[in-house]
Amino acid sequence: MAETVIDIQALTKSYNGVKAVDQLSLQIKRGEIFGLLGPNGAGKSTTILMLLGLSEPDEGSINVLGLDPTREPIPVKRKVGYLPDDVGFYEDRTGLENLVLTARLNQVPEAEAKERAYQLLESVGLQHAAHKKTGAYSRGMRQRLGLADVLIKAPEIIILDEPTLGIDPKGMDELLALIRSLSEEQGLTVLLSSHQLHQVQQICDRVGLFVRGRLLAEGDIASLSRSLFADDPLQITVESGPLNNGLLERIRAIPGVRHAEPADRDGTDLAAASAGAESAGRSRMIVGSDTDCSDAIARMIIEDGVALFGLQRKEYGLDEIYHRYFEGGEQHEQGSSRPETQQA
């Protein structure tokens, strides 16, 4: 396993008696993309500020690349690039000048700074706007310039705070693809915070769910949903010709299947029911099972001579996780969150 580059132990920080970060423990390995997910005000930005030594923790310890950012912020900031949320640039300077300034602040010599700035502008696709004042940049261009700005110091870790905020979906996808490819190219460790799940799901190796200053769960998406939805059955939607009761019984008899209900009779799935009513001769069935038995179901239906139109296995993605934790968070907080967030 790769070495741990960010190690947070029992970190606590409170503002005016309110705990913004509460007993946070988190390890990030070299080269991975870690997504810090949480609703607004969950303490993501506060954690990031403490990682950079811009804010002091009340309790707990932080170790970034073997350094304590509270004690030695300068060497940490030399190796860690940080893109603040809603990043701003000197608007009466060009994009190139802004980048060169950052490079010069990192003690890169002038000529090299310019060279690097041109390269980075090209890799983030802003070469045409290098000599344009940043005041005239669009939101998406600003974020891409921000990415170049973070990378110009040749960091080992980059921390991006809400990098996709306020960008249109296409720009967002491009930016995330850019982050992914840049991190792969340069072997960067990326920590990004967001409250937008889908994008993060696309590029993150691991995510951490962060609610009210606590880390509820961490892991890759599959293991996260496995651990969080272990008790819940796998949900398979079957779209087929009219089903008879015998077939239904046989499907229910497949090992692992807990229940199989025609959707239109159930009444819970209204959209599916109306869709079923529209096309005559089709019906929907929801199957809940412990294991993936879609193969067996399909075979059974076809062997029975019933037309099979579609078979869809529902994956528990971040959305389900998100809704479950951010909306009805309280009751799950004790039950499912990882033990180490509870201890100490």
């Binding site: 811009l54 940080y82 700005d149």
Partner: protein, 372 residues
Amino acid sequence: MNKEAADLKHSRPDLKGSLRRLANTVREGLRRQPLFRRSEGRGSVSERSQEAGSWRTSPFGVLVRKEISDHIRSWRFMLLLGIILLTCIASLYTAMNSIQEAIQSDSSANEFVILKLFTLSDGTLPSFISFIGFLGPLLGIGLGFDAVNSERNKGTLSRIMAQPLHRDALLNAKFVASLSVISMMFLMLGFLIMALGTIILGIPPTLEEFLRMISFIFIIIFYIGFWLNLSILFSVRFRQPATSALSGISVWLFFSFFYDMILNIVSKGIAPNAGTATVEDIVGFQNQMLWLSRISPYTLFNEATTTLLMPSVRNLGPLTTEQVYGAIASPLPFGQSLLLVWPQVTGLIALTLICFALSYVLFLRQEIRGRS
């Protein structure tokens, strides 16, 4: 004739070419100098850490350079410079007008003619020192009022703070850059006036006059430095540039106009009864009022500059007839004048430092966040 003209025409491009060649060789020569070789591209990490010691490449130096170029490019600075230049020319003009009368009427004042350029006025327009006393604060406030909060509002503060530099480097750089812009501007103005005066009057300045003028300019710089720091303090404290500008301007107006009025009211209240008061009472009262008025940086500046520019000023407090008795009405030497205003100068520097320390402490304790 024709041939000469042709020669001239022929020689001109040559001249240009040779100038260009000369410039190139100078540039080449400079590049070979060790000082300039630093900026050439050879930045491995180990060498970069060696370079860290040099002022030019340190983050602080980079920030100072950036701030200075920001100031010089900005419209705001141009406007302030324009105002100061205009008043400077106007006061110089009135001083020129009245200086001839002054020289003719008063033979004892023939010394220190150049210094009179800064203090004389024919009554239509204020003199140079009163202009500076009044407009200098505006310059200081104008250069400092949005130093920190505009960075915060533009979202650049957190970006700069994420670079490897100490938090105070930004504040120090802002202060040093603004102060050096102000210093350059006033040194230039002072020398310009002196040069113009020398050309027009035909009297070269003596060493003493020169020293007095230089120290006068330094007092102007300290004075404006105080206002600059005050406005930087407000810019750290208030999130909106408009609020900090207004607070700076209100302090300025308070000390320029209202403070004297308030002092008048106070003096009426605490004045000793004219019938029964002893000499000690009156002297004590006068001194008290003087100390009260010296709270104002405006008074400090006025006392310091008039003493330096008018060598005949011997004392800044009340003098009894006994004390003056036997004194020879001659100008003070430079050293003595400087000694006389030393408390004022120290006071100005102390005020500046207090403001700076306050903004320093405030800034170091503030949260660095996004645009909130």
